[in-house]
Amino acid sequence: MAIATQGTASNYLQRAPSPSGLADVVELILDKGLVIDAYVRISVIGIELITIDARIVIASVDTYLRFAEAVNRLDLTQTEAAGLAELRGDNGGGGGGGDGKAKGMMEGAKDKASDAKKGLKERVKGD
C-alpha cells in the first residue's frame, strides 16, 4: 500500500529554496562540505560538535509504555473518518490527519524545525 502513485496534484508540497531553520543549515555546513585533511596547515577552530536535538529511536521500556499509551488514547472513529475523507479527496474530516492537507503538512514540518532549532540554539549559546 505504501507508495501509490496517482495523478499529480499540485499544492501538496512546495520546494523551499533554502532551509527554514538554523538546524538544517547547521547540518549542511558543519556535517557536510569539503574537509581538508589534517596534513594541510589549516585551523578548524572553535567549533564544538553541535548535534540536533531529536528523539533518537531507542528500544526501551519508556518507549514501549509511551506507544502503548498513545495507541490507547487514539480515537479510531476520528482517524478512520479522516482516512476515508483523504481517499475521497475532500478536506472535511476532523481530528487525526484530517486537517487541511497542504497547510497541515507545512505546519507539521515547521513545528519540527523550530523544535530542533530551539535545542540547537541552546547548544550554540553554550559553546
Binding site: 507508495i3 495507541v71 478512520e80
Partner: protein, 257 residues
C-alpha cells in the same frame, strides 16, 4: 570533528588569516560586499582555473554563531547562482593568501577542477519524511489484529505486562513500516538522482532524511515525483523539500599523507 589548535600568534597583531567558504571556477568568481563572517567582504583568491571565496578571518577564534553560520551558507548560495561551487565545511581558516594557494589550491588544483566539472549543472535537493503519529498508529491498530486485541484488553488501564507487550508490538510495527516506506521513497527518488547521501541516524517517526544530487534538467521530474509522493501520502507522511542547494553533501577529497 577533529579540532586543531589554532596557530599561535601575538594577540594584537593584525591578522592576515583568511576564512574560506568554498571553491568556484575563476571565471565565475565575484566579490560579495559585506556578505562574509562578521559582515566583512568576500573576495575571490584566484589560482589558475580556480577561485577560493575568502574573507578576512575574524580576530580570535571562529565561533559557530548563528549569524556567521547563516553567512557561510548564504555566501555559497550566492556563488552557486553564478556557477558551480565546491562548498567547504564551516570553520576553515588559512594563515594567509600564500598558504591558501600553497597548501590547498595548488596541490589540489586538478582534483578541485575535476570536481567543478562533474558538479556542473547539478544541484543538491534535501528531502525529509516523517510519519504523522496519530495516522500511523491508527493504521497499525487497523492492520494488526494482535495490536487491536491488546489495545482493547488494556483500555482504561491494563496490567504492566500487557501494556509492555502492546508497546513493544507497536514499536516493532512502526520500525517495519519506517524501513519499508523509507526504502520505497528512496527508490523512487534515487532513480531520478545521480547520487544520494542518506542519513543513517534513526529519529523517531522519520522515514527518510537524504540529499540527492540531481541534474538541473531533471529538477522538474523530481518536483513531480515529490508532488506525487506527497499527494499519495497526505495525512500520513509529512515531507520537507529543500533546494536547489550547492552540493554540500557531494564533495570530498582523496586522503593524502
Amino acid at each position: 570533528m577533529a579540532l586543531q589548535t589554532p596557530p599561535t600568534r601575538a594577540p594584537r597583531e593584525l591578522s592576515t588569516a583568511l576564512y574560506c567558504y568554498g571553491v568556484t571556477s575563476a571565471d565565475a568568481a565575484a566579490s560579495q560586499p559585506n556578505a562574509g563572517l562578521a559582515g566583512v567582504s568576500v573576495e575571490p583568491v584566484c589560482f589558475r582555473k580556480l577561485a577560493a571565496l575568502t574573507s578576512a578571518a575574524p580576530p580570535g577564534r571562529v565561533r559557530a554563531r548563528r549569524a556567521d553560520l547563516l553567512r557561510h551558507f548564504d555566501v555559497l548560495a550566492a556563488a552557486f547562482k553564478r556557477g558551480t561551487v565546491v562548498p567547504l565545511r564551516f570553520g576553515i581558516v588559512f594563515d594567509d593568501e600564500a598558504s591558501l594557494v600553497r597548501d590547498f589550491l595548488e596541490p589540489r588544483h586538478d582534483e578541485l577542477a575535476g570536481m567543478l566539472r562533474k558538479l556542473r549543472d547539478r544541484v543538491e535537493l534535501r528531502v525529509t519524511a516523517h510519519y504523522r503519529e496519530q495516522a500511523i498508529l491508527a493504521e497499525i491498530v487497523r492492520e494488526s489484529p494482535r495490536v487491536a486485541r491488546l489495545r482493547e484488553q488494556t483500555q482504561g488501564g491494563g496490567s504492566p505486562p500487557l501494556l509492555m507487550e502492546l508497546g513493544e508490538l507497536v514499536s516493532a510495527e512502526l520500525q517495519a513500516r519506517t524501513a519499508r516506506d523509507g526504502r520505497a521513497i528512496l527508490q523512487r527518488l534515487g532513480a531520478l538522482a545521480e547520487a544520494y547521501d542518506l542519513s543513517e541516524e534513526q529519529i523517531e517517526h522519520q522515514l527518510l532524511r537524504a540529499s540527492f544530487l540531481v541534474e538541473r534538467t531533471r529538477l522538474k521530474a523530481f518536483d513531480e515525483a515529490m508532488e506525487e509522493l506527497a499527494a499519495a501520502q497526505a495525512g500520513r507522511i509529512d515531507f520537507s523539500y529543500v533546494g536547489p542547494l550547492p552540493p554540500h553533501s557531494f564533495v570530498s577529497l582523496e586522503e593524502r599523507r
